[in-house]
Structure formats: structure tokens, C-alpha cells
């Protein structure tokens, strides 16, 4: 995916706020990129545009060599369903619904045969190491476990890109590490493209590349020399 001179502004009454002021970068298939920046730097807005949850105000966004604003509503729904997996800061699991059913949620809209759902969901749950919690409801899980369920849900349709929006923001550092290890494993072993949003350098260092934003503009775009894994750096 590639963005060129991407801008986004919000109109609130008379006042128009420019959140993204012209961003350019390219993310290749299979990359693990962290987008960093203080709050208000526009990193969440960027993620929403890249994840087809919002539309850009100006500039270009190419997803799989097609302009984002050329996708129809139904195509956007299909991209969200098949090509993209989302992990949110606040988990967003359905209450009073089991882990298995939560993970199945994207499959409902996938058009896949129902016989396949159970197997796919169980596979995804196994990938995040929660098979023993499969029939629990979100209220019975710890924060870290909830986020791993959300990762399994993002994974279940085998998407190209996984977007993680401050996935460790609501977690203590120990659960945060476990969640990040799971995300890193998905990238390393299954080859998913991962775009991670965070304001912590510690978390960002799990990625291969860090894009820093400030006031809606790219401040720096650097390779991570010492990647973190299992809480330690890879040599």
C-alpha cells in the first residue's frame, strides 16, 4: 500500500482542523511497521484511513494498486472483511458471547461455507494460545486474554494486513508483552503485514520499521536496528 500527499481535515461547524498534512510513504507486503507519535499527531486517523474506516480528504491512497476512493461501498466491506484485520485498544468484543462466537464474527460476513467456520475459528484461537478459554465469555477473561481473542478475530479470515491500534494501551506491561509477542509471531511465522500504532517506543521496537508522526506530518521513517522479542532485543 502506498500513500501520496495524504491529507485529512475535520469540519466542526465553521472551524476546519487539519489532522494529516500531506503524508507520503509506501508499505510493502509482509512488513511490520510501527507508527508512533504523541496524542493528536494524527496516527489513529492515519490508521483509520489505511483500514478503510474513514476516507481521506486529499491526496492518494493506493491499496493493492487501486485508488481507495475508487472502491465501492460493497467493495470496502469486502476489503475490511477479507484483506484487513483490526485489533483495537479497547478490544471491542461482544459481551455475553463466547470466545468462539466472537472469533467467528468476521466469518458471518465472509460468504464462506458454514461448515468451515468452526475449524477456522478454532485454528485462530489456537494461534493466540487460548484454546482452553474457548467457551468463556469476555467478562471471564483478563485484559491480555481479551486482546488475544481480538487478535484471533482479526486473524480468522486470513487477511493481508493486520492493523493494531494501541493494542497494549489498556494492558499492564506483562500482558502487553504477551500480546506483542503474539503479534510478532503472526508476522514472523505467518507472514502477515502488520501496522501497529503506539506511543511507546518500547512497544514500537517489536516492529521492523518506525514511522514517527508529529502534527500530522512524518517526522522520521527509520529501520529498527535492535528488534525486541520476548522482552529482549534480537541481536
Amino acid at each position: 500500500m502506498e500513500i501520496r500527499n495524504l491529507t485529512k481535515s475535520y469540519d466542526e461547524g465553521e472551524v476546519s482542523t487539519l489532522v494529516l498534512r500531506g503524508l507520503d510513504f509506501k508499505i510493502e507486503k509482509g512488513e511490520f511497521v510501527a507508527v508512533m507519535g504523541p496524542s493528536g499527531s494524527g496516527k489513529s486517523t492515519l490508521l483509520h484511513i489505511l483500514g478503510f474506516l474513514e476516507k481521506q480528504s486529499g491526496g492518494e491512497y493506493l491499496f493493492e494498486n487501486k485508488q481507495a476512493n475508487e472502491y465501492s461501498e460493497d467493495e470496502i466491506s469486502r476489503v475490511r472483511n477479507k484483506k484487513i484485520g483490526f485489533v483495537f485498544q479497547s478490544f471491542n468484543l461482544l459481551a455475553r458471547t463466547s470466545v468462539l462466537e466472537n472469533v467467528k464474527l468476521p466469518l458471518l460476513y465472509s460468504g464462506l461455507k458454514e461448515e468451515l467456520w468452526d475449524g477456522l475459528a478454532r485454528e485462530a484461537i489456537e494461534a493466540v494460545g487460548l484454546t482452553h478459554r474457548i467457551n468463556h465469555e469476555p467478562s471471564q477473561l483478563s485484559g491480555g486474554e481479551k486482546q488475544r481473542v481480538a487478535i484471533a478475530r482479526a486473524l480468522v479470515n486470513n487477511p493481508e494486513v493486520i492493523f493494531a491500534d494501541e493494542p497494549t494501551g489498556n494492558l499492564d506491561s506483562k500482558s502487553g508483552e504477551v500480546v506483542m509477542e503474539v503479534i510478532q509471531k503472526l508476522h514472523n511465522e505467518m507472514g502477515h503485514t502488520v501496522i501497529l500504532i503506539t506511543h511507546e517506543t518500547y512497544t514500537a521496537e517489536y516492529a521492523e520499521r518506525i514511522i514517527r508522526l508529529r502534527d500530522g506530518m512524518a517526522e522520521s521513517d527509520t529501520k529498527v536496528l535492535n528488534r525486541r522479542t520476548r522482552g529482549a532485543f534480537i541481536k
Binding site: D74, S77, R96, G111
Partner: protein
């Protein structure tokens, strides 16, 4: 997405909010229950009343005095005394009405009876010896009115059960004399209890020879009715024609529009009463149907709350790939399933309650009441409640489907 997936999603949505779902359908349940009960009980009442009219016998032809009203200005024309003794005599002649088995002149009205310091207001029927048979009113104990009683204008009376009990305060009145209009009447019979299940309330009535009633009670020379009973059902139509011809000739009428009498057969009565009862039932069912609309507004209300409540869920579903149509379908189906279930529960509840009431009526009150399941009303109930769900669910469902996923996810 296959339709049954959509149904499963909607069902799952309803299941996670059981209490709210149950409360939501309450309005629909009550509405459909009311419709089913009104129609079922209305039909029961209709069967009962029509059954009683049929009980009078299909062979009975009633002649009513006076011109039958053709419009509002004609009302006064009915209050005439056009049926007299010569009509009665003429109708009895075989050459006039060959298929008449019985001809009964009838006079009736209310009077007070006195016995041993007790008073009772009764309805007095004056008739002849055939009256007991036509109304199936045979005294027990006692005897019926004889042809001699009629010829002689005898001061005899047969009392209904309630009337006799009220006057006598418990002891038997048979052979005693009661006073009506200052004249003493010998009680020759007491009717067994008939209950309220008849068109004429026999229990509060008294029977006597029409000659006696005309002369001493009402002071009139005409009849309130003449009843003709045909010898068979097939001959009712020809008997009606014979009666008309006889009376027209006697009254010098050539234009049928100027008839100073009216004819009533059982078929006419059945039709008239049936129409009235039907109209009443339809009217009541419509009143009950209004409550369905109220129930529908309740559904809309709750669905709107539900959409606001589940904004994050809607945003999540969209972020995971649900299309606007998926969301619209989900919320619309939730509303329709809710109202559909409400309709079914209402039908079962309405049928159950109607059945219980019919048991009470037939056992406690001893009426020939039958339970009918109103199939038409049941279909209508399901249909209306589903349509209500569709209409009142559409607005909240559309509102849900047009939400922007990111705004919805940010919703607190």
C-alpha cells in the same frame, strides 16, 4: 450472505438481550391476545344465540303487525293493531294456508303479580294450547293450557320458576291463586328452570290463554304476533306466500309495498342477528388492533434504544466487513422476529384464555357455549404483528445501517 445466516445473527442479538426482548414483545402479545379473544368469544356468543334461534324451529313463521318500516319516517306505521281475530281465523282455514300445522296468536306485556304480601313484575305471554309445544315450555308440576281454557277465557296461569319462587317464598304455588290487575288467577303449572340461555326469559314469565290476557290484563282486541308453524321445513316458503296472500285479501291490499304486516322466518332472523353480531365482533377486533399499533410504537422505541445501546457493536460489525445491508437486515429481522414471536405467543395465550372462558361459561352458567379457534384472526394477528415489526423496525434499522463505523466505535 445466505438468509438463514442473517436470521441466526438476529436471533443471537435477541438472545443476548433476553429481558429487553421479552419486555418489547409484551405490547404485541397483549394486542394479539385481545384480538384472538374478542373474535373467539364473539364467535362463541354468535353460535350460542344463533343456536337458540334455530331452537325455535325452522318451521316457525312469525307475523308482525303494522307496516314494516322502509325508512326513518315509517317508524310510526309499525305501531298499529292490524292483526285481529278474523286474521287468526282465516289463517287457520286449510283452504287459505294448507301447510299450517299450528296457528298461535300471541299477546305480551309486563304486569305485577301479587301473592300473600309478595309482589313480582313478570312478563305475561298470552297464547293458546299449541304454545307449550312451540316454545318447549311444559310445566312440571302442573298442566298446559287447554283449548277449553282458551275458549272460556279461563283465569289460569303458568308461572316461570323464578317468578313462582319469588312470589311464594319457597312453598308450592300450584293450585293457589295469585292476583294480577285486581283479578285472581289459578296457578295450574310451574315451568322447570330454563336458565338464562334462551331468547325469552321463561323463568321470569307467566303464560296464560290469550283470550284471558287480552280481556283482563291488556284490554286489547288485537295480537302482538301471530305464529304459524308449517308442517315441514320444505313448506315454509309456500306457507309464507299463503299467509301473505290471505292477509292481503282480507285487508284489501293490492300493492305489496302497502302491506300492514311483516313476516319473519328463522332464516331472516338468523341473517339479521348474525349480521349484527358480526359487525360487533369486527368492531371490537378493530379496537383491539389499535393496541397492536401501540405495541408497534413500543417496538420502535426499544429498537431505537437498542441501536443507540449497541452503537459500538454496529461499528465493530462494519469494521469486520458487514455491509450496510447486513446491518439493516439484522435489525429489521430482530424487529420482525420479535413481533412474530409476540404474535404466536399472543395467539396461544388468546386461544388458551378463550378456551378457559368457554369452559367456565359452559360449566358454571350451563350454556351451550362452544370454543372456536379463529383461524382467520390468527393469520391476521401474525400478519399484522409482522407488518408492525417491519414498519416500526425500519426506521431504527436504517439508522443503524447508515452509521459510520469509526464514529460508532468511538461511541461511549
Amino acid at each position: 450472505m445466505p438468509f438463514y445466516h442473517a436470521i441466526r445473527i438476529a436471533l443471537a442479538g435477541l438472545k443476548t438481550n433476553k429481558t429487553r426482548s421479552a419486555l418489547t414483545i409484551l405490547g404485541i402479545v397483549i394486542g394479539v391476545t385481545a384480538i384472538i379473544m374478542v373474535v373467539s368469544l364473539g364467535q362463541g356468543a354468535q353460535n350460542l344465540i344463533l343456536g337458540q334461534i334455530e331452537g325455535l324451529g325452522a318451521r316457525v313463521v312469525g307475523i308482525i303487525p303494522g307496516r314494516q318500516p322502509k325508512g326513518p319516517t315509517d317508524i310510526l306505521a309499525t305501531l298499529t293493531a292490524s292483526l285481529k281475530e278474523r286474521d287468526f281465523i282465516a289463517l287457520q282455514r286449510k283452504e287459505n294456508v294448507p301447510h299450517a300445522q299450528d296457528v298461535i296468536p300471541l299477546v305480551f306485556g309486563s304486569e305485577t303479580a301479587y301473592y300473600d304480601g309478595q309482589t313480582y313484575r313478570l312478563t305475561i305471554f298470552g297464547g293458546n294450547e299449541a304454545m307449550a309445544d312451540i316454545y318447549n315450555a311444559y310445566p312440571e308440576p302442573g298442566r298446559t293450557i287447554t283449548i277449553d281454557d282458551v275458549r272460556g277465557g279461563a283465569d289460569v296461569v303458568i308461572l316461570g320458576k323464578t317468578a313462582a319462587d319469588e312470589l311464594s317464598q319457597g312453598q308450592s304455588l300450584l293450585g293457589e291463586r295469585i292476583k294480577i290487575k285486581g283479578r285472581n288467577f289459578l296457578v295450574i303449572g310451574i315451568l322447570p328452570e330454563k336458565g338464562a340461555g334462551s331468547l325469552i326469559n321463561f323463568d321470569e314469565s307467566a303464560f296464560m290463554p290469550y283470550t284471558t290476557a287480552q280481556r283482563y290484563i291488556f284490554g286489547i282486541k288485537y295480537y302482538n304476533r301471530i305464529i304459524v308453524r308449517a308442517d315441514s321445513e320444505e313448506n315454509v316458503a309456500s306457507t309464507v306466500e299463503d299467509v301473505k296472500a290471505t292477509l292481503r285479501e282480507l285487508h284489501g291490499i293490492t300493492d305489496p309495498d302497502k302491506d300492514d304486516f311483516g313476516i319473519e322466518t328463522q332464516a331472516d332472523t338468523l341473517e339479521t342477528v348474525g349480521t349484527i353480531l358480526n359487525t360487533l365482533t369486527v368492531f371490537l377486533a378493530m379496537v383491539a388492533a389499535i393496541s397492536l399499533v401501540v405495541g408497534g410504537v413500543g417496538i420502535m422505541n426499544i429498537m431505537l434504544v437498542s441501536v443507540t445501546d449497541r452503537t459500538r457493536e454496529i461499528g465493530l460489525r462494519k469494521a469486520l466487513g458487514a455491509t450496510n445491508r447486513n446491518i439493516l437486515t439484522q435489525f429489521l429481522l430482530e424487529a420482525i422476529i420479535l413481533t412474530g414471536i409476540g404474535g404466536i405467543v399472543g395467539i396461544l395465550l388468546g386461544a388458551g384464555l378463550s378456551f378457559a372462558i368457554s369452559l367456565v361459561i359452559s360449566n358454571v352458567f350451563g350454556l351451550a357455549w362452544t370454543f372456536t379457534f379463529p383461524v382467520g384472526a390468527a393469520f391476521l394477528g401474525i400478519l399484522i404483528s409482522t407488518v408492525v415489526g417491519l414498519i416500526f423496525g425500519l426506521y431504527p434499522a436504517r439508522k443503524a445501517s447508515y452509521m459510520s463505523p469509526i464514529d460508532a466505535l468511538r461511541h461511549e
